[in-house]
């Protein structure tokens, strides 16, 4: 049996996965703080059966552009790092997203409702007070400092996992560290780092590679067919 069939099939599957990743990147081209995914392929050269497969999926941590919103509760990290977020289930995730807001109780949260962590836990603003984030990441209410945004960095940021809501989860090996002297740009929100034209080029290439893989699968099939017909004569 020809191994070429399976080699072609592996190429077709890898390119379908590539298209799925492009679809998610493009769908999130307008999600604040979103980091695009990048698939990488490798070749497995087995003794009998060479095939292509998806080696891994990396989160591309290139910064997005900073968009001026003028909202004193919005912040973008100037340089490396992530804001620490506490989810309703108690788990911690990390995000570059900085379009914070206040809840009715005065808690500083992301639009999804997950609370933003300060160095001393969640940050609360007294009702009616004018809240503001300063360039050193301190949060003040009517001029009095009520908290300090917790910014963390990772020794191995390539080991982060996506958690949805523009967030990433730390794996044990990622090596989380606090950044006490982080600088933030107040009144700015970091945008998605998806470049639509780049994604569309990847899409076209993946689609054509898929078709090429399927064509070579078909040719393999035809070859086998003609071999069988020759044998029958």
């Amino acid at each position: 049996m020809s191994s070429g069939l399976y080699t072609s099939l592996s190429g077709a599957i890898a390119n379908l996965q590539q298209i799925e990743v492009v679809a998610n990147n493009v769908a999130n081209s307008d999600t604040a703080g979103f980091r695009r995914d990048q698939l990488r392929f490798d070749t497995v050269l087995g003794a009998a059966l060479p095939f292509a497969r998806t080696a891994d999926d990396r989160v591309d941590l290139t910064p997005g552009t900073f968009k001026l919103t003028g909202n004193p509760l919005h912040a973008a990290i100037d340089g490396e790092g992530f804001f620490a977020i506490q989810n309703p289930d108690g788990s911690e995730t990390y995000t570059r997203r900085g379009d914070f807001r206040l809840t009715a109780a005065g808690l500083l949260t992301l639009p999804s409702g997950a609370s933003v962590l300060g160095t001393g836990g969640p940050i609360t603003i007294p009702p009616g007070a004018r809240a503001e984030i300063a360039a050193d990441g301190s949060v003040s209410a009517d001029g009095a400092i009520v908290g300090q945004l917790r910014v963390v960095r990772f020794d191995a940021p390539e080991l982060l996992e996506k958690a949805g809501e523009s967030g990433v989860r730390a794996t044990a090996e990622a090596g989380l560290q606090d950044v006490p002297d982080a600088r933030v740009a107040a009144g700015f929100v970091e945008q998605s780092n998806v470049d639509l034209s780049g994604e569309l080029v990847t899409l076209i290439l993946a689609q054509r590679s898929f078709e090429a893989s399927m064509n070579s699968l078909r040719i393999n099939d035809e070859l086998t067919q003609s071999l069988i017909q020759q044998a029958e004569r």
Partner: protein
Amino acid sequence: MGSNAMFTAVTGAGAQQLRIDVISNNLANLGTVGYKASRPQFEDLLYETIRPGVAEGGSPTGIQFGRGTRIVGTEKIQSSGVLRTTEQALDVAIDGRGFLAVQQLNGDIAYTRNGSLKLDPNGTVVNTSGLPLDPPITIPPDTVEIQITQDGIVSIRQPGSPTLSEVGQIQLAVFPNETGLTAIGGNLLVESDSSGAPTTGTPGDEAFGLIQQGALEEANVNIAEELVNLILAQRAFEANTRVISASDEILRFVTQR
């Protein structure tokens, strides 16, 4: 399998459609006094882990596939609009934080930044839709001059009297989370679970803005920014539909050959 990408792209196209809806409402309200522009906020959906990362002997990062985007909320941008002088005695603009409170027909209180006030046949101060201010203020019929100070005190002068007499006080309300107020149309907002309870107070006090008589606050919609957003939304929509058609071509390729 090819259809996963299609569904993901549908969420993206839907999000851009919604963004265009919000932009068109902002542009339609360019001339609405005290209107606050809205901005939709999106987030990515949960990820499907195809293969987890391993510590040794394999890829450390694993493979995860995202499944698109969804809207988490629309934010009302609370920056102040430009104050336009009108010289109308009953036009008031709020310079800073705070909302005027009006009583709706059903008795509930609603909040607005639209200070284009009028008098009804009884001399009660009402907004453009005829809803009275809360607390109510009444102007006597023989008034020759109305004066509203920056701290919201409404005084009038009657014929033959050289001095002003106070007839009421305009109060302002602030919320813990103004961006979470619910818009009900008619340029009115109402309290919601997300906005928190209002704190009322005198204009000019800490946290409250000042009242400017004879001025109105224009919509805070920035035309240039909205038009740029419109172009970006349209291009992003097209990119999503491009993914849909690529997935479609793949399915056709698979089924027809």
